[in-house]
């Protein structure tokens, strides 16, 4: 039996993060919710490596792009799907940011079926990366 896909939802909207985590759990994912980037990074550094991170783009103190960078530096096989509440897409400014691109970017409010599809695709990509021997 395949182990559950580990999903980390990072969003400062607590209601949104917890509800989304619950919905994903219902759909068979092993989901954890964090309400700030610091907690999320602390969790990852504590070796609780998620397969896919659903990351809000706009958050206080450290924004989604910086967090993405941190995650990717720590473990490039972790796939990150950005969730955005505005139409600006991903602000690709600077060469470094392009190096750490997210798996996809989905606009809020996201459709759950679209989201689960993207998570599964991201998981497939991570699996492929792991098989190639990337990451730690």
């Amino acid at each position: 039996m395949m182990s559950k896909v580990k999903v980390l939802v990072v969003d400062d909207e607590i209601e949104f993060a917890t509800t989304l985590a619950e919905r994903l759990n219902i759909r068979g994912f092993e989901t954890t919710a964090c309400f700030c980037t610091e907690d999320a990074l602390a969790l990852i550094h504590a070796k609780n490596i998620p397969d896919v991170v659903l990351l809000d783009l706009k958050m206080p103190r450290m924004d989604g792009m910086e967090t993405l960078e941190e995650i990717k530096k720590y473990n490039p096989t972790i796939e990150v799907i950005m969730l955005t509440g505005h139409g600006g897409g991903i602000p690709l400014v600077g060469a470094d940011r392009k190096k750490f691109s997210p798996f996809d970017c989905i606009m809020k409010p996201a459709d759950i079926h679209e989201l689960t599809l993207k998570i599964n695709q991201a998981m497939a990509k991570r699996q492929a990366s792991l098989n190639k021997g990337e990451g730690t």
């Binding site: 219902i26 139409g87 897409g89």
Partner: protein
């Protein structure tokens, strides 16, 4: 700021008002009228002043000349009379009263005088009672009683008396000169009287020779004056002179007179001292050999020609000037309106995106919560209201979905676009767009005509964005027609740097009050029926066209149809535009 006087404000109100309100034809008409009046006044006032100055200088020279002529004539007549008086007095002083009342002696004196002065008609010696005691002359006047005649009473009272020209006993026009003497032997006054032929005055006056356009004559100083010498205009002596004489008896009085010639002549009147006469000089405005009325006519003609020419020039200049100002104003106003419109739309766009962003987060929570409820319902056992709750939650989800469509489209307007430039043949792009809408048009009985320009240049732009623009415009055209109509899509090269694409329909048209709002968000006329609009289509289209460096405008006539005109650059510096948008959107 210095307060301008009211009249300056009124003159320039046409210009200043421009900044306050829209340009109106009435304002330009008023401005043109005022400008014309000011220019006419500026031109006419100096012209009239110069003309008046010339006229009055000329007239004053003429009047001085007339005055001088009248004074000179008066002096000539006074000199003649003075000489006559002196001669008469001298002649009498050579003899005593006794000698003179002797008829022979008086006849001798008479003949001697007559030989020098042919104008002397007769001589008479009148005693202190007024009876003519001796008489030398052609008439039978010896013994005549002069006691109540002016010549006797006047001379007795003031030594010398000159009478007016009259017929008297002699029945020919003459005037009397009477001189009073004192007879020392008898201790009584007596009077020496001489009659002078009135034609003598004519001869003297003829000698003065005031010129061919003048009439000079003497009149009696009476309320109803009589001519004392011949006038060219009023006839022989003793004819009535139809005008009153001036009251001022000093110097020369000049006035105008409309005489029997029925035109105005200048009149100089001067009283001759010691006589009952006034000299009248009439002049037909003659100066330096040039006719006065010709001078006036010429002056009037010059003024009229100058005025007409000036009016024509002023009218043309003001028309041109005001026209140019109006043109410039309208151009500026239209530019201002466009800038205002663009900036308004940009502000609305930013505002809409901001609101959409803020709404999106709570919307996401609602969506997640309703989704969770649906999930829980799905995995829970049946209970009494399960179906009902499911249906309500579904309704909520649908409402959230509708909100999501709106917020996503709003965000799409302001979104930073990853513009991918490629070479595009606009004609083939139009054909592609139409292929999406063929079925819809066919179903509604709408004929779509492609009027595509030949050999149009390939443009550099974003294919996806262009498809979205024209899909939206053609879709709108189809909606405007409803059923059975025609859509024409026309492409052509506008100039060296741009293409123009017209999307025309013969639908119901857009009224003027609506047309100014159609690029604003949430403005829709599709408020009923199955195709309810969000009011974002043209708003987004406008935003995309601007980002691609193009321009969109609309013309419409209600009941005739609507034409959307899109102008696209053939080459545009899109990289700079994308960068600009990026730097603005970063941090939002």
């Amino acid at each position: 700021m210095i307060n301008k006087p009211g009249w300056i404000k009124r003159i320039f109100s046409g210009v200043e008002d421009y900044h306050r309100t829209m340009t109106s034809p009435e304002r330009y008409r008023r401005f043109r009228r005022t400008l014309t009046l000011v220019m006419i006044a500026t031109f006419l006032i100096p012209l009239i002043l110069t003309t008046m100055l010339s006229y009055y200088t000329y007239r004053s020279q003429m009047l001085n000349n007339l005055r001088w002529n009248a004074e000179s004539a008066t002096k000539t007549i006074e000199a003649f009379l003075s000489e006559l008086q002196t001669v008469l007095a001298y002649t009498v002083n050579e003899h005593t009263y006794k000698e003179l009342i002797d008829q022979d002696n008086l006849n001798k004196v008479y003949h001697r005088l007559k030989s020098h002065y042919p104008g002397v008609v007769d001589l008479g010696i009148i005693d202190h009672k007024g009876i003519q005691r001796a008489y030398a002359g052609p008439y039978e006047l010896l013994g005549k009683d002069y006691s109540d005649r002016e010549c006797f009473t006047g001379a007795t009272a003031s030594k010398i008396f000159i009478g007016i020209v009259e017929m008297g006993y002699r029945k020919v026009p003459h005037f009397a000169i009477a001189i009073s003497f004192f007879n020392q032997d008898a201790g009584q006054n007596w009077v020496f009287r001489s009659s002078i032929d009135a034609t003598t005055l004519d001869k003297y006056i003829d000698k003065i020779g005031a010129g061919p356009t003048s009439d000079i004559f003497l009149v009696s100083r009476k309320v109803k004056p009589l001519l004392q010498s011949t006038s060219q205009q009023y006839g022989p002596p003793l004819s009535p002179y139809p005008f009153e004489l001036p009251h001022n008896s000093l110097g020369v009085t000049i006035s105008e007179e409309r005489g029997v010639w029925d035109y105005v002549v200048l009149k100089a009147v001067s009283y001759i001292e010691g006589t009952p006469w006034a000299l009248v000089l009439l002049k037909h405005g003659y100066l330096y050999g040039k006719d006065w009325s010709f001078f006036k006519a010429r002056l009037f003609f010059i003024v009229m020609i100058s005025t007409v020419l000036a009016l024509l020039v002023i009218l043309q200049i003001t028309k041109l000037f005001v026209g140019r100002i109006r043109e410039a104003d309208e151009k500026r106003e239209s530019m201002m309106a466009e800038i205002e419109h663009t900036s308004k739309l940009a502000s609305i766009g930013r505002l809409a995106a901001g609101i959409a962003h803020e709404i999106n987060n709570p919307l996401a929570i609602i969506s997640a919560k309703t989704g969770l409820i649906m999930d829980l319902l799905e995995f829970s056992e049946d209970f009494k209201y399960k179906k009902k709750i499911g249906s309500e939650i579904n309704g909520t989800s649908n409402a959230v979905e509708r909100c999501k469509v709106i917020t996503h489209r709003l965000l799409g307007f302001a979104r930073r676009m990853d513009v991918s430039l490629e070479s595009i043949d606009i004609n083939s792009l139009m054909r592609e767009v139409l292929s999406f809408l063929d079925q819809e048009a066919l179903y509604r009985g709408i004929h779509v005509d492609l009027d595509l320009g030949d050999s149009l240049p390939i443009i550099e732009s974003d294919r996806g964005q262009l498809q979205q623009i024209f899909l939206n415009l053609v879709n709108n055209a189809i909606d405007a027609i409803g059923k059975d109509g025609k859509v024409i899509i026309k492409t052509r090269q506008r100039d060296q740097s741009s293409l123009q694409i017209d999307v025309m329909d013969n639908g119901k048209g857009i009224s003027q009050d609506i047309i100014s709002h159609i690029f604003e968000p949430f403005f829709t006329t599709k408020d009923s029926g199955e195709k309810k609009g969000t009011g974002l289509g043209l708003f987004i289209t406008y935003g995309i066209i601007k980002k691609l460096g193009g321009h969109i405008s609309v013309r419409s006539t209600v009941g005739v149809g609507t034409t959307f005109t899109v102008i696209l650059p053939i080459k545009t510096n899109l990289s700079r535009r994308v960068h600009d948008v990026e730097s603005k959107s970063t941090g939002s």
